[in-house]
Structures are given as C-alpha cells and as structure tokens.
Symmetry: none
Amino acid sequence: MANLNLHIDFRSETPITTQIVEQIQNRVLSGELKPGDQLPTVRQLATDLRVNFNTVARAYRILDSMGLISTQQGRGTYIWSAGQAENRERERRQAFEQLTRHYLRDALALGFSMDQIRALLETQIEQLNHTQTAED
Amino acid sequence: MANLNLHIDFRSETPITTQIVEQIQNRVLSGELKPGDQLPTVRQLATDLRVNFNTVARAYRILDSMGLISTQQGRGTYIWSAGQAENRERERRQAFEQLTRHYLRDALALGFSMDQIRALLETQIEQLNHTQTAED
DNA sequence: ATTAAAATTGTATTATTGTATCATTGAATA
DNA sequence: TATTCAATGATACAATAATACAATTTTAAT
C-alpha cells in the first residue's frame, strides 16, 4: 500500500478535502503513483492525517469522479489511470499553477512578504542542493 | 474542552468582542491555556456568555489573525501558540518554512525547475496586485 | 471445497462547527 | 430630530465529524 507522504495544513485556507485531492492528483501527475497502485484505506489515511475518515472518503470520491482513481466498497481504492498523454502536460502545468497559487495565498496569509518568500525559496533550494551532493 | 470562565460586562464601554479577545489572550499569556487546548465552540461559549454566537466567532477570528488560535470549520478552535510574542513569531516562521518546503517538494516532483518556479511566482504576484487594485 | 461468521472497506445520512452576508440596534453627532 | 456608523444579531451556508449501513474479502469450521 503506497505511502503517500501527504501533508495537511489545518491552518490553510484550502479545505482539508481539497488538500488531499490536489496532493494525490500531483502524486499521479509526477509519476509517484502509478496505475494499479493501491491507496491507503480511508480509515488508515484518516488516522495518519489526524482527520475524520469521511473527509478522506470525500476526497477519494472526488478523485473517483475525476476518473483518477477507482474506489470499490469492500475492496479498496486504486489508481486508475495516469491521464491521457496529450492532456498530461497541460494538467501538469495546471497543477503547478494551482500549487503555487495556494502556496502564495497561505504564505501571504501568514504575514510574509514577497521578498521573504523569494529569500526563503533560495535558501531552501541551496539546502536541497547540499543534501543532494552530500548523498552522492 | 477548556472552561474559560470568562466574564462579560454588558455595561462596559469595551465592546463584547474586545472583552472576549482580551480575556482569552490573558488566559494564554498566563499559561492557563496551552497550545493544543480546544476552546469551546462558538455556540457553546456564546450560550455561556449570553451573547450571539457571531460575536464569539468574531472574537475567535481576531485571535486567529493574531496567530494565537486556529479556527477550523467543522473541527473546532484550538490554541495555536504560547502567548509570548517571541514564541508566536518563531512558530509563524516554522509554519512558513514548512509550507515552503512542501511547496518546493511538490513543484520539483512535478518536474518544474527553480527558474520556472521563480517565474511563476512573479507572474502570480503580478496578477494578485492587479486584482487588488482593480477592486478599489 | 463449502459456507457462514467476522473483519474490512467504502457509502449515506445526519449532526456539529465555523463562515459569510445582511438586518437591526443604539449611541454619537450633525 | 435625523443621520450615520460601529457593534451585535439573525439567517443561510460550507466544511468536517459521528454514526449507522452495505458490499466485499478473509477466516475458520466442517
């Protein structure tokens, strides 16, 4: 059962359900989740995220209606498709824009300035580069 | 659920909302309320104080914007940080760094480069400025 | 191999909790 | 006295949680 490594921000302006939907969507678009992969049960993921399992179930149902996953009562939830190749690029771009929009909204809501955002991004990228090279 | 034991003076010059804000603030500063503690629901506290629940909700929202509590629709209201301005500032910073880490992780996983991230951030900030000024 | 009970998994419905918008009140002021 | 505006209240709404349910799989007895 795939470890999704999702992160919920309870203070975010984005509802929990939406956060789950978007992050699973992104995992599929990035290839971290592949067709056939089984997702955690609604109760398991809910426990991990410290959320009511109905919230996860709602997210799964939305993803199901989007055709991204297949939920089956009594069986579990599986990744359905990786999307059509021609739409893939557009969807990836849209996900990127949405991700950025929400990040900006939450960072600004926390009271940080654009300059501070730029600065922290550079700092963290620097750190990532270091840990990467250290692992080589 | 913490018993706040607040007292409202209806004859006071100070608005009810302000009285609630200040008293909860004091409970946090004095350590009577600790991070993670759940506050009464807006309706429960409103009943106790014999005021409209919107008044409590307003007070909660102010405390939220101050970074003292976290209000979550459907879940309740929780103390977010210890009252010392110093602690609040540190926790705000930590939240910002975590937010940014997760954003970077997801954006990079989607296959976008640091240059693309920088560019999109600037674009979206530009758009935000436009919609803001357009609303004036 | 069969089958029935138990466990697991998602679904449906209702209750709870905070949010948004507009209406009302009452005191300050022209 | 009339007007205006901040504070509060009323109402409808949106997000999440609680509870009971239905479908499927698993387990164990025969």
